[in-house]
């Protein structure tokens, strides 16, 4: 048996296999000619297809009547792109004269490079994450101008953490969970409801001082959010874990929607679609970030700046993400982590070895959900406002995309994918050069096309690296030498 490496293009069938021993000279010219013909046909088809779709446009004139505008130039540009691209592909990748690529079972070059660099990647990544806010001050030129970049860092790290949390469920245990956002919502609402609760505030005001609850709410509610989310993970998991694959995915999807609909409709508790506002801000372990005498700035002898709070938020989410990573690394080396991975590989074999698969799946669900709950509490304290709008299926899909794109089970891959996807989507907001007249015109908003580009990026990665950015798996224990396991051998789980 010779498993085909998943990241290899060799398993794509050659369009027209030509015996290799044929003379190459005349074949080559005919290949170019064929490619040219093919490109021409493709270009023509594209032009025909795009003519009605893109070529004509009905827009509103200043008087309010509809006018037809023509954009034949744009059609020509599209057709040209397709023609050139098709031609290049036909003479390179799809060229029938191209020697077939050798099929290997060993990890590919990228995987081996990754394995070589992996001892360095983690410290570099972590130190960069620690230095990032200071770098952004330096590069943005001051505390206040760095706000955008620090905020972006917080945003990306939230998704890194969510990706790592979902990675436990999807990547390690192989359970496809499309409703992960439900646990994020449970965490966020746990904190939002408890911190704005008047009876709890009154209770603490009577015993520990008026400001106690506002100052400490986050730090007390953070573990509670995780525990409650884990509890909901178990509640969801218990009835559905006998399901596998598609069925499990559908039920988790429904669960995510149920949580959101409950949040919308249980108005007396959650304030419905209007959400919960005036959530107390984060404190430096009880010390508020304000300009008062007892505030963070005066205690540490600094000049008051609202960025202090942002900085602190950044390090809190960094700490939470690091906690997720450390716990996952530790769990992988414990029997329960190995059981998760074994479950992904073969559930029936697990049962024949005495592993209680229901219990094992539940722990995976609960652990993943707990980190989702932590991230949710952090989300609530950062935005200081929660509403069901924030917990749509789109969020689940993005988090799952991060896990799949990163390479299921690989922490560095997931972190990389989160940075690429979330950071990249954010940077797409700033593509003002596309507003040039010859391209899309000044009323073009590139940020509207983010999802399109996002989709293209997903397709591209899945074609070129079907097992994600990091496709190899690192063993949890070794006798002599830790060798990466090629992704083609690692199973993806049956759900």
């Amino acid at each position: 048996m010779a498993p085909v490496s998943g990241s290899d293009l060799a398993d794509v069938p050659d369009p027209s296999p030509v015996p290799a021993e044929k003379p190459r000279g005349p074949e080559r010219t005919s290949a170019v000619a064929g490619a040219f013909k093919d490109a021409l046909v493709s270009g023509l088809l594209t032009a025909l297809l795009f003519l009605p779709l893109v070529g004509f446009r009905a827009s509103e004139s200043s008087t309010g009547s509809l006018v037809l505008t023509y954009r034949f130039g744009l059609v020509a540009i599209f057709a040209g792109i397709v023609m050139v691209g098709r031609f290049l592909l036909m003479v390179t990748v799809w060229n029938p004269n191209r020697p077939p690529r050798r099929v290997s079972t060993t990890p590919g070059v990228m995987a081996r490079l990754g394995a070589l660099a992996s001892p360095a990647v983690k410290p570099v990544f972590f130190s960069f994450a620690i230095l990032y806010p200071f770098l952004s001050i330096l590069l943005a030129g001051g505390l206040s101008p760095s706000r955008y970049w620090v905020d972006l860092g917080i945003y990306v790290l939230t998704y890194v953490m969510l990706g790592w949390g979902l990675n436990i469920v999807v990547g390690l245990a192989g359970l496809l969970d499309l409703g992960y956002v439900a646990f994020y919502a449970v965490g966020a609402y746990t904190f939002a409801l408890l911190s704005t609760s008047v009876p709890i505030n009154d209770f603490f005001a009577g015993t520990l001082g008026d400001d106690f609850w506002t100052a400490w709410a986050f730090w007390i509610c953070l573990p509670l959010s995780g525990i409650l989310a884990a509890m909901w993970g178990v509640i969801l998991g218990f009835p559905v874990l006998r399901l596998r694959g598609d069925y499990l995915a559908i039920v988790t999807l429904a669960f995510g929607e149920i949580i959101r609909l409950v949040l919308i409709n249980w108005v007396s508790l959650t304030n419905g679609g209007a959400g919960i506002s005036s959530i107390p801000p984060i404190t430096f372990f009880g010390v508020p970030f304000d300009s008062s005498e007892t505030g963070f700035a005066s205690i540490f002898g600094l000049e008051f700046n609202s960025m202090h709070r942002m900085f602190f938020l950044y390090f809190v989410i960094l700490g939470l993400a690091a906690l997720t990573a450390v716990v996952t690394i530790r769990l992988r080396k414990m029997p329960v982590g190995r059981a998760w991975e074994a479950l992904r590989e073969d559930e029936i074999a697990c049962r024949s070895l005495g592993i209680n698969t229901t219990l094992t799946k539940l722990t995976a669900f609960a652990t993943g959900a707990m980190f989702g709950g932590f991230a949710g509490a952090f989300f609530a304290v950062r935005i200081r406002f929660v509403s069901p709008e924030s917990f749509t299926f789109m969020e689940s899909a993005v988090i799952l995309a991060i896990v799949v794109l990163g390479g299921m089970g690989s922490q560095m891959g997931v972190a990389g994918a989160a940075i690429l996807l979330i950071g990249g989507m954010e940077l797409l907001r700033n593509l003002s050069f596309l507003k040039a007249d010859f391209l899309f015109g000044s009323d073009f908003d590139p940020s509207l096309y983010r999802m399109l580009i996002f989709g293209f990026a997903m397709v591209a990665v899945m074609v070129w690296r079907p097992r994600g950015l990091v496709s190899s798996r690192m063993p949890t224990i070794f006798l002599k030498e830790r060798k990466a396991v090629s992704g083609s051998l690692v199973k993806e789980g049956h759900g």
Binding site: R330, A342, A349, S352, G354, P475, I477, F478, K483, L489
Partner: protein
């Protein structure tokens, strides 16, 4: 016939005197299909018991019932730890409604009442599969450590010492690795311990699956066609491995096999199934000379077959 005339002598058979597994009137129906029809046999402690029969005879179904993957329609599967329990003890546990009970010699388990993972973890019955089920993306060492999940954890889930990485946990893990190494030595795969299991050649995968099952420290090892797809040399190595397991580990072995060289060479007791029913039961020599077995394996003239069918029905 042979089976009936031998019945007075049966009481003195080794497997009847010291059984580890007693299968009583086992039947398994899937809708209208009767896959196993009222099969009873006994597997002796410390013996190799082979279940043979033509394709579709219900051998794997019997296995799946014993290992808890199927719930039998009717029948009782009693497994004895320590030593055989008396019939009264077995009946007592059956009447109690529990899945297990203590016996004078040790304990007895009613496998048909246990879910699959408890058949493995409580009753300590390990199995391999006809189509190999290794964790192919995990290394060989990891495969053998997953097999020791139950002994490495408390209550099959977590180990508090492991969370804190205490010395007691490190000792325990070292013990598990040593155990894995012992089995790797036995199957000659020490040098490949850090390679993924899916990279191994077929014959090595078969042996690794047996080693993985043995890492669970079973009292009864069930092997579903362990020699399927092996060449004669690998087949001989397998015989050697199975005999050494029986010799050195006091594990009883129940195996399904088509390869008669394996069956006749290593088994002490052979049970023959055909169309879901037992047609013969005895030592390899007895079974080899049993006319019904010869009929079912070699085929007979119509007239002879009719006689065989009448006898089977009798």
């Amino acid at each position: 016939m042979a089976g009936e005339s031998a019945s007075p002598a049966r009481e003195s058979r080794a497997w009847d005197r010291n059984p580890i597994l007693k299968v009583d009137h086992l039947s398994m129906r899937f809708g209208g299909l009767v896959a196993v029809n009222d099969v009873s046999f006994v597997a002796g402690r410390g013996e190799v018991t082979a279940v043979i029969g033509p394709n579709g005879a219900g051998k794997t179904t019997v296995f799946n019932c014993i290992t808890g993957f199927y719930k039998p329609s009717t029948g009782r599967l009693a497994l004895f730890h320590g030593g055989p329990a008396t019939d009264a003890e077995v009946d007592g546990v059956t009447a109690s409604g529990l899945a297990w009970g203590k016996s004078e010699a040790g304990a007895l388990y009613l496998l048909e009442r246990l879910p699959d993972h408890k058949v493995a973890s409580w009753a300590r019955v390990a199995r391999t599969f006809q189509n190999i089920r290794l964790f192919s993306g995990m290394t060989i060492l990891e495969n053998l450590l997953v097999a020791q999940h139950m002994s490495l954890t408390t209550s099959g889930l977590l180990n508090p010492a492991a969370i804190l990485n205490l010395p007691s946990w490190q000792r325990k893990q070292k013990g598990a690795v040593d155990r894995a190494l012992y089995w790797l030595n036995k199957i000659g795969l020490v040098d490949r311990a850090d390679d993924p299991a899916g990279d191994l050649p077929y014959g090595d995968q078969r042996r690794l699956e047996i080693a993985r099952a043995m890492c669970t420290d079973p009292v009864l090892l069930c092997l579903d066609e362990p020699a399927a797809g092996l060449n004669p040399r690998e087949s001989a190595a397998l015989n050697e491995l199975l005999l050494s397991i029986r010799r050195e580990h006091q594990a009883s072995i129940l195996l399904i096999e088509h390869d008669m060289s394996v069956v006749m060479e290593i088994s002490d007791h052979v049970v023959v199934l055909e169309y879901g029913s037992k047609i013969a039961d005895g030592t390899p020599d007895e079974v080899r000379n049993d006319p019904r077995v010869i009929a079912s394996y070699l085929g007979v003239e119509d007239e002879e077959e009719a006689v065989a069918v009448v006898e089977a029905g009798a």
